[in-house]
Amino acid sequence: MFRRVPPLKRINKASSNISTLGSSIVNAINHSKSTTPLLSNYYSTIAANENNSSTLPVKSTDILIVGGGPAGLTLAAAIKLSPNLKHFKTTLVDAGNLSENLPKFHNLSSSAYMTNRVVSITPQNMDFLTGDLNLPLQFNRIQPFDGIYVSDGLNDTSRMAMDRESMGNMVELLNIQSSAYMKLLELNANNNTNPIEIADNCKVVDIVKPSTTNATANGVENTNPWPYVKLDNGETYKTRLLIGCDGFQSPVRKYAGIETRGWFYNEWGVVATMKLEYPPFNHIRGWQRFLPTGPIAHLPLPGDWATLVWSTTPELSKLLVSLPSNVFSKLVNAAFILEDGDMQYYYRKLSDAAVDKRIFDEIIEDIDYRIEVKSQQLINKNNSDMYYVDENYPPPIKDTLEKSRARFPMKMFHADTYVAPRVCLVGDAAHATHPLAGQGLNMGLGDSKSLVSVLEKASSRGLDIGSVDLCLNDYWKDRYGTNMMLLGVVDKLHKLYGTRNEVVVGLRQWGLNVVNNLGDVKEFMMNVVSGRK
């Protein structure tokens, strides 16, 4: 997982340290709490590591951002744009090939295809990105939507429609990343006195605290030593403030010894980019149906594209990813309009299908027939006209983009604290949530915004930005409560819709109908989802 540092001067303990680091990180993926014994590994070999495994001099920087994802890059752009912070020497480290991939994406001439990693951004965060940061986002690839339609998978009549103009925007992650990267390049071109240094294609190998001997050189014990970050290209950085935007398996968080609490849901999410039969003409909405196996969400993209996030059991997710794309598209249509008995029948037949093409054709025909019959029944039951299905169900899908189907595990995790001496965590390194409410990156962008304002405050007062008590604690205090609340609510919602218990099902269906009719409660929920306070 981590490549070994090229040994220019071999020290016996160095290699064992790196391999234990690698294996511990691999083990920590499956545990709900990260292991603290790592720190003891560091401290025992501190004296040996300092300045010994490479002959390159240690580079010094003020702010080191580990991770070039959307959270990390927007944070870097915010720091470089802030008048109080742009004088700090900033470095951004990422293991991916940012300098090649991101400009290529930015210069895509048409929206010929859409990537499958798409998130919803609240209007407030959109203002942050377009207003405060003035990122050159590709607006032809962004789709604002005017509402969300939520329904229960065990009932046709239990549903809630939340309608509000521009309740959110569907943005590809690459769009955010590439526009932030281009902004950083632009800022570097305009300001060559203190450009941000972007070290891509560099993996973080190790993060250590410096040895105590060096720190007490002048007789004064350094209680808040600068962390030393070792990259796989041999360079080492020591930094005043280390910001971890490095995702769920964050090495920065492990260095800081911050534990996380949470669990893996026994669910995997299948994402796909889909082509619609016709673009939605009435409202442009997000649709979510809570099936008994997990929620399925259909979110609009520009033109006649749409994105899918279907959380389901691990076995079913494997099955869904392996189906031919025409069968998969039909199954997505069926999941939104047909009943639980139908879906169970299709899952069973497709699991038994092996490599029998005739079964696929039979299933496609059966799905078409059932959707036709069901649409007619819905029209009759609701005494409505032929547009009833268009108003209350998502636009049907024609096809799925090849190679856009992928699956990933669902989890909920929250770090105990976001700050440690000279360390702070932003984004997925601090919290992970189920995508059913579209809050993951919104929380991360809120974190970035809050961190920048906290750093500005400290910097304008001339304080050490790496100090927990003087600077960083405000960030944690500001964000922890909000994030904890969102994580908690999303988790409870997931648990509420994850049961088949008849009493709970009846209550939740009745409850959803009640909330649908109570304007004030709906307004409140819409405010929470769209980020307004």
Binding site: E339, G341, Y345, N380
Partner: protein, 323 residues
């Protein structure tokens, strides 16, 4: 002067001899009640209700009489042929009346029919529908909507049914009981068309449950089959029937039921495959024992023979010991 005043006073007293009957509080109450009922029940409110429910039709396209209120509103349009939509209170009344009548006169078909339809609450039928949708054969039944009537059954009599087939067993049973296949009453009071079909199918397959288990059409046989249906299919009327119907029976009948037949029915119903998923028309030519095995059911003791035997024994013992 004084006299004139006193005359006027007397005249005033004569006009108003006692305290007024209609006091202020009474008037206030009456006015408030009138206003409230005008706003709740008055024509404006009814018109507003109708507009909201979509039942308002522009009076200018019809007669000029805009003051008439439609007294014969039904809850919904008929959803299928023969559908009679009922309000909830009407359904409840039908349930009360037909349950009492069925208890004392179960032989009258109308009582059972009405009891069945008033107790077939949507969640039970919806559950059944999901069971059918999950199964291959059940799905086909819902899609093809086969109808079993006396004509379709008589047609089978002519075709060459192998001995020991389901069809042959059925006709032999019919002959033994001395009845013919009869068309069941149509479903009228169930609102959803899918649910109505499922209930119709349930009714039509009732005779097959008799035939395949060789249960007669006397009251004990009917209660046994009802209990089997209750445990296997879960229709509320069947559950109620199998609990309450035995109360009216004679001691000997009750003993037979509680000792032998009801336990058999419960065990069979709970352990066998759902019987609504059986496509009877397609398995008429199949071997009956194969079908029984695939469904997981086995015959109970022969009820008619048992009754005869017990009656004979009782008579014999009576003659012997009551001399």
């Amino acid at each position: 002067m004084l006299a004139k005043k006193s005359v006027l006073k007397v005249a005033a007293l004569a006009k108003n001899p006692q305290p007024p009957l209609i006091s202020r509080t009474f008037i206030t109450q009456a006015v408030i009640t009138g206003l409230a009922s005008h706003f709740i029940f008055g024509k404006d409110a009814q018109l507003a209700d109708n507009i909201e429910n979509g039942k308002y039709s522009n009076p200018s396209t019809k007669s000029n009489d805009t003051t008439s209120i439609d007294l014969f509103k039904r809850p919904m349009e008929p959803q299928y042929d023969g559908h009679v939509p009922l309000y909830l209170h009407e359904k409840f009344l039908m349930y009360l009346v037909s349950s009492a009548k069925s208890y004392y006169h179960p032989e009258d078909g109308i009582n059972i029919v009405q009891l069945g339809e008033s107790t077939a609450i949507p969640c039970c039928l919806e559950n059944l529908k999901q069971i059918m949708l999950k199964d291959d054969v059940g799905r086909r039944i819902l899609r093809e909507r086969p109808n079993i009537s006396s004509e379709t059954l008589e047609a089978f009599r002519g075709s060459n049914l192998p001995p020991n087939s389901v069809g042959m067993t059925y006709f032999k049973w019919l002959d033994k009981e001395g009845v013919g296949p009869d068309t069941r009453a149509p479903v009228q009071y169930i609102d959803d068309p899918d649910h109505a079909y499922i209930f119709k199918r349930y009714r039509q397959c009732h005779d097959f449950y008799h035939a395949i288990n060789d249960l007669p059409i006397n009251i004990e046989g009917e209660i046994t089959v009802k209990c089997l249906e209750a445990c296997n299919i879960g229709i509320p009327m069947a559950i109620m029937g199998s609990i309450f119907a035995p109360f009216r029976l004679k001691k000997a009948q009750k003993e037979r039921l509680y000792d032998i037949y009801l336990p058999w029915a419960v065990k069979q119903g709970l352990n066998s495959k759902p019987l609504i998923n059986v496509y009877w028309e397609e398995i008429m030519h199949k071997d009956v024992n194969e079908v029984r095995e695939s469904l997981g059911i086995s015959k109970p003791p022969d009820l008619r023979a048992l009754r005869k035997e017990q009656r004979r024994l009782r008579k014999e013992l009576k003659i012997r010991y009551e001399r």
